[in-house]
Symmetry: C2
Subunit: 378 residues, 2 copies
């Protein structure tokens, strides 16, 4: 056991005691959180891990790239060399469960195709690791429940890979919504889409691997930004599907529009597409508006208000901030800004959207309460 591993175990022990005794974690730990970085293992080394997560982890303050899990042996050596990952922290999909015995891995980040999220998140939880499950959380609500249950049973933390929840632009929207400098929200409109022209065999276009098309991929961003753009969960939703390139989008949705009704009367519109570029959030208040465009991309995000003010923050890796937020949640007891219940809520909405489409655009009631709403952010 090296010094870092020792510190990890130590701080986890303190954290556990603090939580049980009701003492605020940050107090119980004193300055300990500054000395500890949690080890993350990335499961699935596709482009998101390669170009976003691994680089983001290089700058992270509270976590680091400790291990990898890959089904492609030739990637092992490349990643080990590039990121100084020791051989004992490298796993494949078969021996993955033995990660339970590896104390240098604190968090498992599942970055696999959607159909594999539940399996690997549950196995990670059973291995005693905290879990980040990439969005969309799973193929359906049932799988979300299974992931949440597994994490609860194992006493590990669970987060969904909603990088936007940690983004300062998102949090400025939340602040405007909750502090009401422009009054109450009356209308929210959110678009998330891009034109897919790549390999038609990619897993995102294969329903058995993705669970759905634009809605599962980009649509959850629109669902999310509509919700934090109002600060409430919707009470009903209706939706429509549009298809113009069926030869390319063989069995996944190409474009979807949906309309949300919120309990305070706010009307929500969302659009998601694999056949049109759109990347916006517009929130109309009683006395003004705020717009982000781009809104859901890796940044830099750009925002403005009806008063002519620019919303601008220094650009940093959203993934770095997201993973640091989760590490801080584990280490210091700060809020989990993207808990499993949020991912499950969004999957309930996704299922309602597909059901509405199947029923010719019928308005589907939603009974979500406060599910997935995180009141106080970091």
């Amino acid at each position: 056991m090296n010094r870092r591993t020792f510190n990890t175990k130590l701080s986890q022990g303190i954290a556990g005691t603090a939580l049980l005794s009701g003492i605020p974690l940050a107090c119980a730990m004193g300055g300990a959180q500054n000395k500890k970085k949690l080890g993350i293992a990335l499961v699935g080394l596709g482009s998101y891990s390669t170009y976003q997560l691994a680089p983001g982890l290089q700058d992270a303050e509270h976590c680091y790239l400790a291990g990898i899990v890959t089904g492609t042996p030739e990637k092992e050596k490349v990643w080990m060399e590039k990121y100084g990952i020791p051989k004992e922290n490298v796993y494949n999909y078969e021996n993955f469960d033995s990660i339970a015995k590896n104390d240098s891995i604190d968090i498992v980040y599942v970055v696999l195709p959607n159909s594999m999220h539940a399996d690997f998140s549950i196995r990670a939880a059973r291995a005693g690791k905290h879990v980040i499950c990439e969005k969309p959380m799973a193929m359906n609500v049932e799988e979300c429940d299974a992931i949440i249950d597994a994490c609860k049973k194992s006493g590990v933390k669970l987060s969904v890979g909603y990088r936007m929840q940690s983004d300062p632009y998102t949090n400025e929207i939340k602040r405007l919504v909750s502090e009401k400098p422009f009054g109450k929200v009356m209308y929210v409109s959110s678009d998330a889409g891009y034109i897919s022209r790549g390999n038609p065999e990619q897993w995102r276009l294969d329903r058995s691997l993705s669970g759905g098309g634009a809605l599962m991929n980009m649509g959850v961003y629109s669902v999310q930004s509509n919700i934090y753009g109002v600060g409430l969960n919707p009470i009903s939703i209706s939706a429509q599907e549009f298809s113009t390139r069926p030869e390319y989008f063989k069995d996944t949705d190409e474009s979807i529009t949906a309309q949300m009704e919120f309990p305070d009367g706010t009307v929500g519109h969302m659009f998601t597409s694999h056949n049109a570029s759109a990347n916006r959030l517009f929130v109309s208040f009683e006395k003004g508006w705020v717009e982000l465009n781009p809104c859901h991309s890796y940044g830099p995000i750009s925002g403005r208000t009806s008063e002519g003010n620019e919303i601008k923050y220094p650009h940093q890796s959203q993934q770095k901030v997201q993973m640091d937020d989760f590490a801080k949640h584990i280490l210091m007891g700060t809020p989990n800004v993207a808990p499993g219940e949020m991912g499950k809520r969004d999957m309930i909405i996704v299922e309602a959207i597909y059901k509405s489409i199947a029923e010719g655009g019928k308005r589907m009631p939603l009974d979500l309460g406060d599910m997935g709403i995180v009141k106080k952010n970091i």
Copy 2:
């Protein structure tokens, strides 16, 4: 007959001959069009006539405020004095038909509540006057047909009060759509709404006078901008209604969302409301986007593109440009940028929206062909 009246008759005579003989009107008339202004009579002296049309006419180049038609006797003197209108050009709703004998009135602009559009437009046509009918054109498609027929029978020109059709920002959108510097349009999104908090007894909130709420008032702008944002008519539409203040919006729609399907695969979203402020047009192309915000207000309009360019034109009265465009159409044979068929088309769409709402959001097919599309603008 004074000199101006004589010139009017002369130019109308030449115009008639030119049209019959197929000679381009502007050639046949030589420089005559520069010397002639058409006389407009405003029917209904509410706020739109008072604060938009009459001031706009002061700067118009091809028409002028020649007469008024009002049901409020005390307004007669005020307007006569303010705008130098002779007594013989002042009418009330009862003696309005005698305007047929008044050679100084060339155009009648009907600015009455929607329920009176058809009646006065038809009476104006029968009186031999060219007609501008304020938007929405009428209460329903049947009335639109009656207006169009009456104008055809009387051989007079007909235009709908679509000020945006003459606006340079609209025409820049049309240029980007047709010249395709950003490629083909893939998605269009248009919002038009404001928060109504005024007198609940106003005619706009009385279905018997307005024919409908937000959709009839602001919604036609969204319909229009979705269409010129694509350059085609939609082939289907679905719609949803949202109601949160039924005590105020007793029998008119408060907020409506609608989704349009275009023959080239473009997806259209529109939102209109009397309970939320939104005033935008977003057009997403293959290789970029353009946005107007504000888009549908009296100006100044403001636009920008994905390349960071501002779209900016010197502000001028939209109503002045609109009425000048119609006068030029009459005088010089330039295109009628907002013909009656455009107003009828939009009313077909409005009726389909209400029908979709009544049928729970069902997608309604539309068979519009090129109806109302003006290919070449001034």
